[in-house]
Symmetry: C2
Subunit: 201 residues, 2 copies
């Protein structure tokens, strides 16, 4: 069986950076955007829509209006979301079957539990996340600190709900992971060396 590392991560804490560095150091494949692309191909839904579904709160798409017209549309929306999740499971398992790999987010720790992955969770305090987000000019580059803080908390809230909905477990609860790493207080290169040591021996 291939070796698999899953990385749950709070937004802005550096999960992708850790995945990239680990991937380089271990020679494992690192899958992130590829998962979205593959689901998009399989479902013929746009990458943007797939991204939205896998990053957002599934509850928010559930019907509030129960009138006939809207209920059909909502039902269709839920069906599509379920289809995206089913494909996500297939794609992620296929990747784990293909080679040693690292998968960030996407409930991969739960989906791949039979593969006995090393389950990491990375986190940090809000100041560290704001600093990292500002250093990396991305979608929120014009946000004030206050706006960034709100945005970061919102993304994590959605991740928590998504995870709870599909796994029944609490996102970020230590018991769901093997090792949890504070990215604000540890040196990323030392963390990589440490994990390589653990995995290579």
């Amino acid at each position: 069986m291939n070796k698999v590392i899953t990385i749950g991560r709070e937004f802005g804490s550096g999960g992708r950076e850790l995945a990239l560095k680990l991937s380089e150091a271990l020679g494992y494949e690192y899958y992130d955007r590829e998962i979205i692309e593959e689901i998009s191909k399989r479902t013929e839904l746009s990458e943007k829509y797939v991204q939205q579904v896998v990053e957002h709160d599934p509850h928010s798409h559930f019907p509030i209006t129960v009138g006939h017209t809207f209920s059909y549309l909502h039902h269709y929306g839920i069906e599509r979301q379920q289809a995206v999740y089913r494909e996500q499971c297939e794609v992620i398992k296929k990747m784990a079957d293909t080679s040693n790999c690292i998968i960030v987010g996407r409930c991969a720790d739960y989906i791949l539990k039979d593969y006995n992955p090393l389950k990491l969770f990375v986190y940090s305090d809000i100041d560290h996340k704001i600093k990292r987000c500002k250093e990396r000019a991305d979608v929120c580059e014009h946000y004030t600190d206050k706006q960034l803080k709100k945005y970061i908390k919102e993304v994590d809230k959605n991740r928590a709900r998504y995870y709870r909905f599909y796994t029944g477990n609490e996102w970020g609860d230590k018991l769901n992971y093997d090792i949890c790493i504070n990215m604000a207080t540890t040196d990323i290169d030392k963390v990589v060396a440490m994990l390589v040591k653990m995995l290579k021996d």
Copy 2:
């Protein structure tokens, strides 16, 4: 400045075992009982009393009766507890000043924050803790699983209260630590090798 590792640990998860193995692998001093012995010497209080104070909920000793007779006794009890905590701080700092060391529990992560310790927290699920406790015939060797579970939860509840009382922080909250390790799902020797790699380079 000496290198310091602090290990917060859920009862029964294997914090002391990790500390001992790390101590052997790194050549750091490992302090546990020695702290109690030293506080006992300094305060002239029995080791049993000191142990009880540092493992139990400080709130439970606060006065409920406010009548004159009892309030004096309670006040004296609180004073003694504060004295024990003050001595604990002194003893722990003296140990960190003396050599590279590992300190388990005792709010050492908080007391030694100026020493920039590597702050570990180890935990596991209740089944793992019950199994470990039963393998190690100690105070609770005649307990049923149900009694053991209750005992374990009670000890951890007291540790959490003690930590909150003296540090103002939440015991076991990931943000207070650098690395959290699930002792039920990781191999202790690999964890030791991993941490040695992180600390030696």
